[in-house]
Amino acid sequence: MVASVGTRDENVYKVLNDDEVVRIHNAALQVMDRVGIVVQHEATLKALEGVGVEVDWAKKLARFPPYVVKEFVRKAPPHFVQGGRTTKQDFTVENGRVYARSLSGCSHVLDLESGKCRVATKKDSADGARMIDALENLKFAGGWIYPGDEPPSTRDVCLAQIMLENTEKHIAIQAYEDSHLKYMIEMAKLVAGGEEELKRRPLLSIVLAPTSPLVLSKVMVEQIVSCGKYRLPGLVCSTPICGAAAPVTLAGELVVVHSENLAGTVISQVLYPGTPVVYGVRANTMDMTTGNALWGSVEFGISCAAAVQMGHYCGLPVDTYGVGSDSKALDEQAAVEKVFMMMLPAMAGVNLLTGAGYIETIRTASFEQIVIDNEMLGMMYRTLRGIRVEDETLAVDLISRVGPGASFLGEKHTRKHMLNEHYMPRVFDRNVRARWEELGSKDAAQNARVQAKRILREHVVPELDKDVRKRLTSILDEARKELPKESGGE
């Protein structure tokens, strides 16, 4: 059964009532106006000043009057296309649709053979891209696995090449700095077939990370500019650690998140009106017994669900995490944490649900886990589809024909609707024990391992044109020459 990706009109999980949404929005406006946001980019501060933002140049602090925020956030498009290698992979980011992707950023991987956690390599990055390409519930890709065998200065550019070569799906990716992003854009132009085509059907969307609380660094703002120039969707990814970089109260965290997102959106619309922006939230929390950041807590899920309401209130599509866990193993903790983190924003109507493929606080990728995550997403989609109530599905005529005490099994109606109405799992086992034992008594992780290996063995992604591949490599080679020099020499 192909998973459907629709949601119903009524988003089921409303963390905040309407008044509360407005209160948080107003609190954020107050913060943006009276506290201000540090914007470490002079040209942008100038542009902001030009539209009515008050700038304290000594502190690089921008105070946004509410009318400016209102005026510019309105210009961000409520829906837009994200493109894949061919139009078959294109999709529209819009309300009423939930699309899922892998996260960006694992440095380690659980080895498929040994089960041990180790630093990831270029081969893992490529295998990961291919797995994402194969999994039907992942509409697009994130820069899932970073190649640890590439020097740190060019790890992001190297990953961009690997992703472009090994999946046809749209890629959401993060660049360390604008100079790195420029190489990725060159690569994307090549694969898309030119700058105009890239602008029409953006192959990449770019993760833009504020430094919480309330600081938009040079690194981030320069990339907002590049996104605007090429009309690449920019994902303003507010990631404050709750309790450390934002108030420990979830409402206070939402104020910081909302302020940062609106500031990033205003900047992008002031500079390049109409550029697609996504309201992004990673509401991670702090473990107060160790100081470690947590990417699987239930509060993360609750805050993300509330953030969906906040972004939608401003007319922006929202990207949050879901499918996350702090577990080190493929176990009950992984499953339970992921379900909470996934279902809460999904049922709140999130547009883009990120995060498939990790355990251990986004540090470690697992090929088995992404297969299980894909399964969970399938169940999520089934939940969001709900129950179709129409004459055909009420089946009163059928019930009256079949009559009391008889069976529906042989009916045409049953054959017609069974696959659509009932989700069929690919990994979870439903056999009786005797049969399950015959099949090797495998648990979900073991079944997932078999599937992951099969996918990696069998799934083929069409190769890019030889000339394109050569030119991608020469772009990376140039990055390898130039970028280390920039960070002070190697």
Partner: protein
């Protein structure tokens, strides 16, 4: 009846920086030896560290207590500069987030945990240049240098500091630890660092291993 020293000790335990400053100032007026007051401050933070280790107190409690200790110690610093050798300590640490990186939450927690464990910690801040690290080693002669990087693109800064330590002949005068989310054991080894730890608790343990007395 509480003495001024008791009150200094308690102000740290309660995480009250205003009271810590107040009683240190009072202690100076009473002509209490600054080193004795510093000892009260340090003992206070160690009590907090112990309770934290037992799960009775949490990170925010540690931070508040460390702030109180720093407030008191800041007042005493000019008076004890010349008497550093007399201070009982596990070791002296200089810690900072490397050049190009302004993330400091993790680094701050490590600094606090090290203080609670009995180390004298000098926090160099964020976006710390290679030159600043080298100067800190040259001038203050710490036993241990800690470098934090949260961005993969800042990791090369850790390498640059290692190279500078070698080039200036200071490498064997100090132990070096690195940390931060993208940093790994392998990276630490490849740049010649003496140690790496994945979180604050393990960082303290490693620091003891490397320089503890």
């Amino acid at each position: 009846m509480s003495t001024t020293l008791d009150r200094i000790h308690q102000a740290v335990i309660d995480g009250d920086r205003d009271l810590a400053s107040e009683f240190v100032t009072k202690g100076l007026a009473e002509k209490i030896d600054p080193l004795t007051m510093l000892d009260s401050l340090n003992r206070g933070i160690r009590v907090v560290g112990d309770r934290f280790g037992k799960g009775e107190l949490f990170i925010p409690d540690m931070v508040a207590s460390a702030d109180a200790m720093k407030a008191g110690a800041g007042i005493l610093e000019p008076m004890i500069l010349k008497r550093k050798g007399e201070i009982k300590t596990e070791g002296e640490v200089a810690i900072g987030t490397v050049e190009g990186d302004i993330h400091d939450i993790g680094k701050n927690i490590v600094a606090i945990m090290l203080s609670a464990a009995g180390f004298q910690v000098s926090d160099l801040g964020v976006d710390v240049s290679t030159e600043t690290f080298i100067e800190a080693v040259r001038k203050n002669q710490p036993n241990l240098v800690g470098m934090s990087a949260l961005l993969p693109s800042s990791m090369p800064s850790q390498d640059r500091v290692m190279k500078a330590l070698n080039a200036t002949g200071l490498r064997n005068k100090v132990k070096v630890m690195v940390g931060g989310a993208p940093v790994t054991e392998e990276w630490a080894a490849s740049i010649g660092a003496d140690g790496y730890a994945p979180d604050a608790t393990l960082a303290v343990r490693k620091a003891h291993e490397l320089v503890g007395k």
